[in-house]
Amino acid sequence: MTQTTLTAARRAPMASGWPKKLATTLLTVAVTLLGLLFVTFMIGRVMPIDPVLAVIGERATQAQYDETFRQLGLDKPLLVQFGIYVGDVLQGDFGKSIRTGQQVSTDIARVFPATLELATLGTLMGVFLGVPLGVVAAVYRGSWIDQIARLIGLIGYSMPIFWLGLVGLLVFYGMLDWVEGPGRLGVFYQGIVPTRTGLLLVDSLIAGDMTVFKDAFGHIILPASLLGYFSLAYISRMTRSFMLEQLSAEYVTTARVKGLSEWQVVWGHAFRNIRIQLVTVIALAYANLLEGSVLTEIIFAWPGIGQYITTSLLANDMNSVLGGTVVIGTIFVCLNIFSDLLYRVFDPRSK
């Protein structure tokens, strides 16, 4: 048997299992999203508020009320309404937002990139600062570095984000003038760069317009830092905890006895073993930010999906709520799948 056929033979079981696993995954995703839709849909229908009034307002006549009631399909049985809704969603039609008067898909395409950009930057800050801080805190347990790391974590957990955001604006925008004000872009820069991805930093780079990039960066840096700080608090705390567990393990003592440098012991052995747990923590932190940090979005007038869903919910704009929920649900599922894939990379046993 040649080397080639041997390799092929070894790969055969994996190859034959791969479609099945993909099918299972897709089925799981579909069932999860359907369940999510069903629950959200039913909550929207059983809530003690009238969706018709949300559309026509309190001054409408009874005839207008009845007409809208029929137009919304509310005269049909609940399950039929749900079936029609799912059918529309499968065709990419989330319906129209009663609050903005536009297609929900159009709205989401506008607000989600704002959240994606903010959450990604925030998470990157949290990871690049939080992970090293957590590792160092664990290595120097009980030292002043550890105390500072714990203090940062404690403040991050206990400080109301609303207050911190306002103070951040007051200091860095109002007093020091280091950053730009609320919103994604200054009023003089709007509409200059064509929308390609919806991510202003990326779009301005694609257009090669550094003035717009600078302004967009000036707007995003403060809210992103704020979210990054909260991510940092969580990630550093968890990293410290995972590392402490590893550093007290026997294999670490063995490694030190063997004469490995502390750098190799910490980063080459202990840290390698917490990567899987860290992936979960980071994925969760990222997903939480992608859900939209409503208060941060309100303070910084950031037109993101968190604010969109919350405002829609308060206005009983259920098409928007359902559309937003599907997007968030899909993100969670995708991040889970991505985490699973990373497990397989970091831990060969899971293959």
Binding site: Q62, Y65, W163, G181
Partner: protein
Amino acid sequence: MTMKSKLAAAAFAGLMATTAMTPALAETPPNMLVIANRIDDIKTFDPAESFEFAGADVSRNVYEKLVNFDPLNLDAGFGPQLAESWDISEDGQTITFTMATGHTFASGNEVTAKDAEFSLRRAVLLNKTPSFILTQFGFTAENVEETIVATDDNKLVLTLDKPYALSFVLNCLTATIGGIVDMETAMANEVDGDMGGEWLRTNTAGSGPYKVADWKPNESVLMDLNPNYAGEKPAMERVIVQHIQESATQRLQLERGDIDVARNLSPEDVAGLADVDGVKVVDELRGRLMYWSANQKNEMLADPKVVEALKWATDYDGMSNSFLKGQYTPQQAFLPLTFLGALEEKPFSYDMEKAKAALAESGHGECGDIKISVREAQERLDIAQSLQNTWGQLGCNVELVVGTGAQTLDRYRAREHDIYLGAWGPDYPDPNTNAGTFAYNPDNSDEAGATGLLAWRNAWGIPEMSEQTLAAVVENDTEARKQMYLDLQREHQKVSPFGVMFQQIEQNGMRANVENFVAGGATTAVSYWVITK
């Protein structure tokens, strides 16, 4: 906003009060107006459908009407705009408008009577929420071709179902729904017989000073000059309204000079601006009334003496001088001040002795359980808590039922409340807008389902007062009409289950160089075209 975040905001306000801020560094260009406002209620720009505050602000600056208000002289009432004159027939049922010349839409099309015919007809035919403002004159989908007719490009004839006060009809035509749309542009964008409705939701086709150049829902509205505007060229060539939810954020932007006008400042932030250089606060009386009303299906509350006791046990001055300071002023009649015939008398004041005396005279020696239905909004919760306190002193066992706006409104429309605490704003600048809901309910039966009438929602059957209300809308002598409303309000104050308490004051913060900012008073919306810097 959660209670936690409100506390945080209050703490922040305290911090700001003790922090000396660097002077403003930025300044907007002299020909551009930048406004921070809550504009998340804009659903559409179509004048046939738009019925929200922020939408009315845009519409007033984009669409001209047959008759309109001069923003620098609102007290003068309506005057000519697209119609240069009008005549009413002897039988009082036919109004003929003569169109002014020289008005042109942003598209370049000339404004004619045909456009006016199209716009008013489509408002009736589309039958959206504000259509009642026109259909109350007898216009229906079936008869518009006979009742709203442009006889040529210069004459528009409206035929009413019966004689009405001319001022009533013309006042209604100044409402958003009276906006005249460019027929050619609208019909060029028609889809499935919607008369351009879908297109006009997000685009504008008017002859006003501005046109909407860009709208991002919940984010911003950008308006540029209409190059064909017939009037004097506005000083502000571009107006940008940004959606900024938070008062503290608006204040920061204003102090920095990044915006020219902040429209949603809290009392704390208004107070904080008092000593800031380069910034001023302008107060303006608006049309919104804050009131409570008692459901007459509740046996105890159906006793007029119990309701009178509650009116005496309401601390009007206490509230307006504390948490409502600067935001609301006491007003106890159903017409807001500055409306034709608005009654200024305030017969009730906080007087526990009189309250107890009235309660003793009632068939209920002791006040029982009362549930106040109130939506989750800070100022309303504060008022509800004040009522809970003072009515509690009267011996009432008051419970607050707090819900979202929609939940509270549902209960109200279903006549399931005890006391409803809410606000009411005029739909059009004529006294009938409030008289027709506070003092009109000819059929009080459940089957009538007149959910749009406040009197019906409170199960208050008033066939006689309804007749008086109807009589006032057909009186053509303005002085006599005014007197009719004054009498109606006096009677209403005495016998109605409505406890009207306050009228809104809007406090707009603006840079010191902004002049002629008129939010619209009690009768209309904001006018950007007269603003200078």
